[in-house]
């Protein structure tokens, strides 16, 4: 009998073609399976594929008596109770390969868009509002020659650093663990503590996974420590930032601008951010390209195939 894979989202079929011979793929007949839908079906399911917004909690894991693998569609797995899964012998995998370049790309795009005020200009022009073209009006900031501080210098952080270095930026970073000299040399990146990161960065980018420890890492005090000319970018997770404190910092020019892709209560954005013209907003779009979506599906499929047939999987628990 074929193993059963429950997919929580009406994914593109093309990305899971490699599974069709050996697995029974169960897609929702609507856009998504809700938690109740999953609980109703989980009992004889071998593999659960949650998308990055679906919460896979202890209740679901308990009811999945045949569940062997939770193959997450996404790199962040803060939506999955990975420790509980481990205690029940259920493996959790994610998709770090496929999200790497698209997310670094969006992160770098937000750095540029916020610095050069492209969101502001574009909105003014499309809304047919008054905008001076004067030589010294509405000046933005360059990124060339400036210092980019990266909080979380993992694979995505390093992919951002590669782009930044080619664009003339100096790199500093903070991590739980300092990187090896070979990696630091590759990006000419200097290790600093978190306080120095806040104070020295002309641009500060969060590229760390969400954890209990970094909840509201960036609050009023942290934004106060930043330069008034600094630009803050978050493409990691919304829980790392106190959105109200960010909005206050932007309103009161404690920092110059921001580019924000992730929010604490998606799809809701703190209303104070919506009215500020010095923040560029995107709807958790780190991987929202056709290529990105397809590559994520293929990575999920590879994790599932290799889990059962042997081979490398991106195991996180």
């Amino acid at each position: 009998m074929k193993k059963k894979v429950l997919l929580c989202h009406n994914f593109l079929k093309e990305g899971f073609e490699s599974l069709e011979d050996d697995f029974e793929l169960i897609y929702p007949d609507k856009q998504i399976f809700t938690k109740n839908d999953v609980i109703e079906r989980i009992e004889d399911i071998d593999v659960l594929v949650p998308n990055f917004t679906f919460r896979t909690d202890a209740e679901i894991i308990d009811k999945g008596s045949k569940l062997k693998l939770i193959a997450n569609y996404g790199v962040g797995y803060n939506t999955i109770d990975v420790d509980y899964a481990a205690s029940k012998g259920v493996v959790v995998t994610n998709t770090p390969e496929s999200v790497l370049e698209p997310t670094a790309e969006l992160c770098f795009a937000l750095i540029l868009t916020a610095a050069r005020r492209i969101g502001y200009y574009n909105n003014k022009l499309h809304n047919k509002e008054k905008l001076s073209w004067g030589i010294f009006d509405n000046l933005g900031l360059p990124i060339y020659g400036k210092t980019l501080g990266i909080y979380g210098m993992g694979r995505i952080g390093q992919a951002v650093a590669r782009r930044a270095k080619a664009s003339g930026m100096k790199i500093i970073y903070h991590n739980r663990h300092r990187l090896g000299k070979d990696i630091e040399d590759k990006y000419e990146a200097g290790y600093v503590n978190f306080d120095e990161l806040l104070r020295q960065s002309d641009f500060l980018s969060l590229n760390a996974p969400a954890t209990a420890e970094n909840y509201h890492l960036m609050g009023k005090d942290e934004f106060e420590k930043m330069k008034p000319t600094a630009i803050f970018v978050n493409t990691a997770r919304g829980s790392l930032v106190d959105e109200k404190a960010l909005a206050d910092a932007l309103l009161n020019k404690k920092i110059f601008a921001a580019g924000i892709d992730v929010f604490e209560n998606e799809p809701n954005i703190h209303p104070a951010l919506l009215d500020l013209d010095n923040v560029v907003l995107t709807p958790h779009a780190g991987t929202t390209t056709y290529d990105g979506r397809m590559n994520m599906e293929k990575e999920v499929a590879r994790n599932i195939l290799n889990f059962f047939k042997g081979g490398t999987i991106n195991r996180v628990n």
Copy 2:
């Protein structure tokens, strides 16, 4: 007696400090000198500093009987009758050094912003319009792995190529003259003819100066040859593009998106472009940063000093 420098714009004084000992600097007491203002004053002027929108024509050059140098603030000198100036023994200089990185930076920012639909997302969110956050909704395009075609592979084109290569793009280019193998190798850039550039590029960026020959280089036929998934970026000069044809191509999905910083009749933009949500618009902002403006002034000042004292100048005629 000190030589007299007439500055057509109320520039920041700081950038011209190096001239103060040896030159008399004449600034407008309002934002700019008009053509009439300049004609009234030009007779005993040694150096004219036009900004990049001021038109320095034969009439001004004729009236400037003591004029020795036109030290343009900007790299593009299509606003100056350089041949007529040469015939009268008047040297023209420009500021290629200082505009290089800021312009390449904006160009690359527009490539990213248009591809990843950041302008669209940002406007929808700030304007509080409906925007789906669904996994497969409003997909953009990645730049990673795609082909960037560069029309005009001079210094700015190469600075764009450097950023693009670090972001995983493949480079092709078209130029009047093919570059040396060393430069091609540096960017792994392939030379193609203009027709191939149009057909093969996933992204097409114009980085050539405006000339009589490239007036409306991009018209209906050229956009038709591009891929329907292609993105077009212009940070060069507005005269290279038929704006109506561009708007039609964007409206009819002949191309996917565009990022446009320069326009034929600045500060006016063809109204058809304003209503399209797949074009990112910026107000000739290639150098609109504080650092950029200051560096341009310092380069103008260096051209003036070196012209009289000996040393390198960026002469264009």
